[in-house]
């Protein structure tokens, strides 16, 4: 099939950038979206032009590297998939496809479709961890936990940090990402010791970055390739409110 692509091209962070149009004559419906771009890039290289830069690694929806806007929707219109899992059979002959990088102040563009998501890393460094005993492997099933909590924690743990939530939020907010991390660890027994400090530090780290605020638009939840629920945001709101209003617990148990 024939496709017309409008792709954002930007040489470096300082470049103003612009859309370039590419006509593709013979796109196989068996290709994935990224393979379609690979073919186009081979063409561009053969012509001596700069190939389109985009991030990818696993190409099976588990690493969180890939991601850009396809016709105004993060990872394209198919629900529950990353753009590396998007297939060309969802397009039809003659379609025009606009491909744009995530646009958010907190995610500056590095080149073409590649954005700098280290804001997410800084939030993770602030509190996205638990304290564990190192050494030999612990006994299996040594820590009791309810089935519901396991299931919910695993649902939130699916977050691959791709940034689609921020990209799709009309406010450019990172609430779904941070909510997922706080809920994932906060639901597990192993996550309890740092639960309050985690909510405080991760939210504070989020606020230091240029993300927007939540208006409960729910676009994040709709585009999330892992279909993570905004109930994680409610949980973050609750955990953060409790610790932020109460302040840190005293370091000593003795009355002074």
């Amino acid at each position: 099939m024939k496709l017309t692509l409008h792709v954002w091209r930007q040489r470096n962070p300082a470049d103003a950038g612009a859309f370039a149009t590419y006509e593709l004559e013979d796109v196989s419906t068996h290709m994935s979206f990224l393979e379609m771009l690979d073919v186009l890039n081979q063409d561009l290289i053969a012509k001596g032009e700069e190939p389109i830069a985009f991030e990818h690694d696993c190409r099976e929806g588990i690493c969180g590297s890939c991601g850009f806007m396809v016709n105004g929707v993060a990872h394209g219109e198919q629900p529950g998939v990353t753009v590396c899992q998007l297939h060309m059979r969802h397009f039809k002959d003659g379609d025009e496809v606009t491909i744009e990088p995530w646009r958010a102040k907190a995610f500056p563009i590095i080149k073409d479709l590649v954005v700098d998501r280290s804001a997410f890393d800084r939030i993770m460094h602030a509190g996205g961890f638990i304290t564990v005993r190192t050494g030999s492997a612990p006994d299996a099933n040594a820590i009791p936990i309810t089935t519901e909590n396991v299931e919910h924690a695993m649902d939130f743990a699916e977050c691959i940090g791709c940034g689609a939530c921020v990209a799709s939020c009309p406010n450019g907010a990172a609430m779904l990402f941070v909510g997922a991390k706080i809920a994932h660890l906060g639901l597990l027994p192993q996550g309890q010791p740092e639960r309050a400090a985690r909510a405080l530090r991760m939210v504070e780290a989020m606020e230091r970055e240029a993300f927007g605020a939540c208006s409960n638009f729910r676009a994040c939840e709709a585009v999330c390739p892992k279909e993570i629920s905004i109930s994680g945001i409610a949980r973050m709101n609750k955990d953060f409110r409790r610790v932020a209003l109460a302040g840190p617990a005293p370091a000593r148990g003795k009355r002074r």
Partner: protein, 218 residues
Amino acid sequence: MSHSAGFLGSTLGKKVLMAVTGIILFGFVLGHMLGNQQIYLGAERLNHYAELLQANQALLWAVRSVLLFCVAVHIVAAVQVWLRSRAARPVRYRVFRPPAVDYAARTMVWSGPIIALFIIFHLLDLTVGSAHPNYIRGDVYHNVIASFSQPVVALVYVAANLLLAFHLYHGLWSLFQTIGWDHPRFGFVRRAVAVLFAVLIGAGNIAIPLAVLTGVVR
């Protein structure tokens, strides 16, 4: 104190402020709508009710101050949150079609300011009387009928209350999320409560100008 200052400085804290002031204002709007239903019971009943509300001036002004304070906090927090979000995407998308974003959520940004303007008009019309064609202090029944007999004014009231209903719907649903009320078993209750109260308040308010306009109440 410093903890709560930090909390209120955060966008999450500002949303909680909006939720708490929103609950108080919501309570007022509900009471206001219910009290006004006495218009169907005739002039004497409505005017007597108005007299009752005016009886204790100290209490009246105390309530008014609380409401005004809530409105101010609600607006200031909304503007701050909105500015932050606007700054979060300085370069716009050429094509942007975020799915699932519903009408009520999208219109919050302008339903808020429009409702604020409407409240000012409403106060000048029926409380102060300066925007009223023939204001008689104390005769609330007459004032309402005279005001709503002007088709344009009646339509303004209808339109503003329609917007208010959307604003309340999204606001109510949102505040459960903001406060963190999210038990999976009661998830559906949040939306049902929001729809119920938005429709109740919207319909109760809109019925009055319509009743006057169609001559049911005169």
